[in-house]
């Protein structure tokens, strides 16, 4: 098992800066997800760790050894691609045995190891088939087997569940997590699906446009997002954002904006004032807003626009000024479009961001 450290990592493709100034440590046995939208640099980072791309600047350490110039075949890593990359002209057995054959291991050993791994992943009956004769889920397990058979120190996965149907994806998420815990291999998992990252990873590193936004445990990213991007990316339905500013009236502080007149407590007010930022964005999650009918200083007034019933809850779209806020209401909530409602929020569940820099203030 290995500890991976990325120090000041950069990757440029001509003028395109795919990865900029990345610093990240992945501990021995940890499951870290690289999360972000398409083009944010997560796959590029993964390929640099694999040795297929060479970093433009910066260093990659495997257990305190710089591996920048080490070819992929010497890094003892197992990798699963989004497309599985199975060798179409070989049988499943040969596909899995391929890394071992390249290491020139004896035939008996190879056969034993392949059978073991096939049993672990429940694909023992498929060993004689060719990849073209397998379903998506089966192909994925063969790809996993091939990556695991050489008992790697590091496990790299690039969106392995993207090509599966929704139901299988949910099952495989749990399977992969259990497998990783059982084998204890350091794992780096690239995905654009925040649900996958939240449910599977020990820690998540969110990237956007090549820059690391925040790294931490899933709960940390959910409860304390460091900036607007993280706040809006994590959580479904996503966080609501409303522009506002802080006004002081006597000893009380008020957040004022379109349709908003919220009293905030003194500590929060003081923090905002001391930050020196005047243009603010208020962020609050749909599940942290309570929908009611009596407005007070702790609520936002708005008009019901449309209801989206989900079965378990109802998403209520509420028009506040020129903004559309989504509120999660309990099952059975009813209202007609145009009805005036008051949205109550809890002080602790409120997030304030600097409009210009996007950074979180509270």
């Amino acid at each position: 098992m290995v500890k991976v450290k990325l120090v000041d990592l950069h990757k440029y493709f001509g003028k395109v800066k795919a990865v900029v100034g990345l610093n990240l440590t992945i501990d021995d046995g940890e499951f870290v997800a690289l999360l972000g939208p398409s083009g944010c640099g997560k796959t590029t980072t993964l390929l640099m760790i694999a040795g297929i791309y060479k970093p433009t600047k910066g260093y990659i350490y495997f257990d305190d050894v710089i591996v920048n110039d080490l070819p992929p075949k010497d890094r003892n890593i197992g990798m699963v691609f989004q497309s599985y990359a199975l060798y179409p002209h070989m049988t499943v057995f040969d596909n899995i045995a391929f890394p071992l054959k390249l290491r020139k291991e004896p035939k008996q050993e190879i056969r034993k190891k392949v059978r073991e791994v096939a049993e672990l992943l429940q694909i023992s009956e498929l060993l004689d088939r060719k990849p073209g004769q397998l379903s998506g889920g089966q192909q994925q397990r063969v790809a996993l087997a091939r990556a695991l058979v050489k008992e790697p120190n590091l496990f790299l996965m690039d969106e392995p569940l993207s090509n599966l149907d929704a139901k299988l994806r949910v099952t495989m998420r749990a399977e992969l997590k259990r497998l990783q815990k059982q084998l204890g291999i350091t794992t780096i998992y690239v995905t654009h699906d925040q649900v996958e990252a939240m449910t599977m990873a020990d820690r998540i590193a969110i990237l956007n446009k090549g820059i690391l936004q925040q790294v931490g445990r899933p709960e940390e990213l959910y409860d304390k997002p460091a900036n607007l991007f993280v706040a809006g990316f994590i959580g479904s339905p996503p966080m609501n954002f409303v522009e506002c500013s802080l006004n002081q009236k006597g000893d009380d502080y008020f957040l004022e904006g379109e349709g908003i007149n919220l009293k905030v407590n003194r500590e929060i007010g003081k923090i905002i004032v001391s930050s020196g930022v005047s243009e603010l964005i208020l962020g609050v999650r749909p599940e942290d807003l309570e929908i009611g009918r009596a407005p007070d200083t702790q609520s936002i007034t708005g008009e019901v626009y449309v209801l989206e019933p989900l079965g378990r809850d109802v998403i209520v779209n509420v028009k506040v000024g020129n903004n559309m806020l989504k509120v999660l209401a309990p099952q059975g909530f009813k209202a007609s479009p145009g009805e005036k409602v008051a949205l109550k929020l809890k002080m602790e569940r409120m997030h304030i961001f600097d409009k210009r820099s996007g950074k979180a203030i509270v």
Partner: protein, 297 residues
């Protein structure tokens, strides 16, 4: 009343279909009849001593007797004016197989490089290759004659080989590049991670994925070399380097002396047979390429 009407409509539709099929088949038969008759005549000529129209005067295998030692006898003389048939067949086969193999080797290396590496002038090179492919080789005859003469490759099969490969390569490279484009980067990356160096990845993983393309280039190269006539005619003067195309031409034009048409027909049939066999054998591969598309196995 409605029933009778729709039944009539059905009958009319059937008659229409029959008529259109009839017309189509008639046209097809008219167009293909000459060629079919030609081949029929060729076969019949080879097994008869004299052909009156399409009817053999007498069925005989005497035209085939020269295969005993390969020397075509000229009636009324004792000399051998024509080179040994087996030598000529061997030359043809040698030329065809080396053209095919050399083309596969060069086209796969070049196709891979062009498909994978981005270098300056890549798109211009690709356009140039396409233009070269449509270039009529015949216009180069005189220039090539001078060049081959200068480097001393005139009157050698190697000279013909080089010219043939050079003029066929554009198509071969284009085909192979297409096939390599269909091999995703993931497979190569996977091979590198699994423990291959770049060359091993190419040999063990990439090449097998383009097997259909390799076969296609080999087949086209072989057939191109086998049927080559103009360059052999222009660049070969010694009889010992003749290929079957030259032999058949000499026999038909009665270059030296009269030879019975039956024997000529036999030579032509023998020239044709390997191509037919090749097609029957290779058809599976060629069809697979057509239907399954590049890269699919």
């Amino acid at each position: 009343m409605d029933e009778w009407y729709s039944l009539r409509k059905l009958k009319l539709a059937r008659i229409k279909r029959f008529l259109s099929a009839f017309v189509l088949y008639s046209i097809l038969i008219l167009l293909t009849m000459p060629i079919v008759l030609m081949y029929l005549m060729l076969f019949l000529q080879s097994i008869s001593d004299e052909l009156i129209g399409l009817i053999p005067r007498r069925l005989t295998l005497e035209n085939w007797y020269f295969l005993a030692n390969g020397y075509i006898k000229v009636p009324g003389t004792a000399g051998t004016y024509y080179p040994n048939f087996y030598l000529v067949a061997f030359n043809t086969f040698l030329l065809a197989i080396t053209v095919g193999c050399l083309e596969v080797l060069l086209a796969s290396l070049a196709g891979y490089a062009i498909s994978r590496y981005k270098f300056k002038g890549r798109s211009q090179l690709l356009a140039l290759i396409l233009i070269l492919h449509s270039f009529p080789g015949i216009t180069l005859l005189i220039a090539l004659f001078y060049v081959l003469n200068m480097i001393g490759l005139y009157d050698t099969l190697i000279g013909v080989l080089i010219v043939k490969v050079a003029l066929d390569l554009p198509l071969g490279i284009w085909i192979m590049k297409g096939f390599f484009d269909g091999v995703s980067w993931d497979i190569e990356m996977s091979a590198l991670v699994d423990g291959c160096n770049r060359l091993q990845a190419w040999w063990k993983v990439v090449l097998p994925s383009v097997r259909n393309g390799l076969m296609a280039v080999l087949i086209f190269g072989f057939l191109s070399g086998w049927s080559e006539f103009i360059y052999v005619l222009t660049f070969i003067s010694s009889q010992k380097y003749w290929t079957l195309s030259m032999l058949v031409k000499a026999l038909t034009s009665e270059e030296f002396v009269y030879v019975s048409p039956g024997v000529t027909a036999v030579a032509a049939v023998l020239y044709m047979i390997p191509v037919v066999l090749f097609f029957l054998f290779a058809q599976k591969y060629l069809l697979r390429i057509q239907i399954a598309g590049k890269g699919a196995l």
